[in-house]
């Protein structure tokens, strides 16, 4: 096997399926945002969902990573990176937005000080 590290052997079919699904998942958020078809919160939800599904599609059909026959070490590295990203990005956003909220609270709304 030439590319055992790539998991399953890629075929023209897998690239075309990936391309078609990616096109649909790109078109949905762009059309919704361009024509302003949803409220802002619902729009953000659709953008996030389409992005996550499209990333999985790219991993599966372009990078040929899947849960059954991709090499174990590659999956392990991917999961480790995902954990690090979750901790670092999640932690940064949590801290920074908490700080932001505390900084911009008007003086009158702050809890009474001790003196």
């Amino acid at each position: 096997m030439h590319d055992a590290s790539a998991g399953k052997m890629p075929t023209a079919r897998s690239y075309l399926t990936g391309l078609a699904l990616a096109l649909v998942l790109t078109a949905i958020p762009f059309v919704l945002v361009y024509f302003k078809l949803l409220a802002a919160t619902a729009m953000l939800l659709v953008i996030a969902t389409a992005a996550i599904i499209q990333i999985v599609i790219h991993l599966k059909y372009f990078l040929h990573i899947n849960l059954t026959d991709a090499p174990r070490e590659n999956l392990l590295a991917l999961c480790f990176a995902a954990t690090l990203i979750f901790i670092m990005v999640g932690g940064s956003l949590w801290i920074m937005f908490d700080l932001h909220d505390r900084m911009v609270t008007p003086f009158e709304q702050q809890p009474p000080s001790l003196h």
Binding site: H2, I47, F80, A81, M88, L93
Partner: protein, 199 residues
């Protein structure tokens, strides 16, 4: 792991190219962490426009959509180049790689045009925290794509002059991993930067 017991000369070329692919995969994961932190920085800074232009004024969705299509189709043509190389069809592989190169160059050209337009209207990276983070994130991706374009040319040259040998095929495979990875990062960029930016 054969690497721990045998020296490199005891391994077959296939084992070595698999090991290199795994090493390259580790590099891609570290690169993903770099991008993830640039994304986090952007999200934190995105409201810090300092009275300057916002995403709504600066981003032009049809252009972003064009860039997205160029990169997506280049990912597909790279996939077909990989298939052609595996079928030992060097000519088709070179043509498909050149097509990938043209699509990728189109992407970089559109991005450079966008950056130049923004700087010309006083919305350069020095204007606000939002724009610093924007140029850092999108620019880092653009630089990666540019490096990928150089790698594609190198592999094309190697196929032309050395033929589809085992090391050349293994390099082509790794450049392919890099190229598909950059397309995934771009999904994050249009979903985090451009689309929410014009809401």
């Amino acid at each position: 792991m054969p690497a721990s017991t045998a020296g490199p000369e005891a391994q077959s070329p296939v084992d070595r190219s698999e090991e290199k692919a795994f090493g390259f995969w580790i590099y891609l994961m570290t690169d993903a962490i770099v991008f993830a932190l640039l994304f986090a920085t952007y999200v934190v800074m995105s409201r810090g426009t300092a009275g300057g232009p916002t995403g709504l004024e600066l981003f032009h969705l049809p252009r972003t959509f064009g860039e997205t299509m160029l990169l997506l189709f280049s990912s597909a043509t790279f996939g077909f180049a990989t298939l052609a190389a595996r079928a030992r069809d060097g000519r088709a592989a070179v043509l498909l790689l050149l097509l990938t190169f043209i699509l990728g160059t189109g992407f970089v050209a559109m991005e450079v045009g966008e950056f130049r337009g923004m700087v010309a209207m006083g919305a350069g990276p020095d204007r606000s925290g939002f724009l610093s983070a924007f140029f850092t994130l999108v620019g880092t991706h653009g630089l990666h794509v540019s490096v990928g374009l150089i790698c594609i040319l190198v592999v094309v040259g190697q196929i032309l002059f050395k033929g589809l040998t085992e090391p050349v095929g293994s390099r082509l495979f790794r450049v392919g991993l890099f190229w598909h990875f950059l397309d995934i990062v771009w999904i994050g960029i249009f979903s985090v930067v451009y689309l929410p930016g014009v809401l």
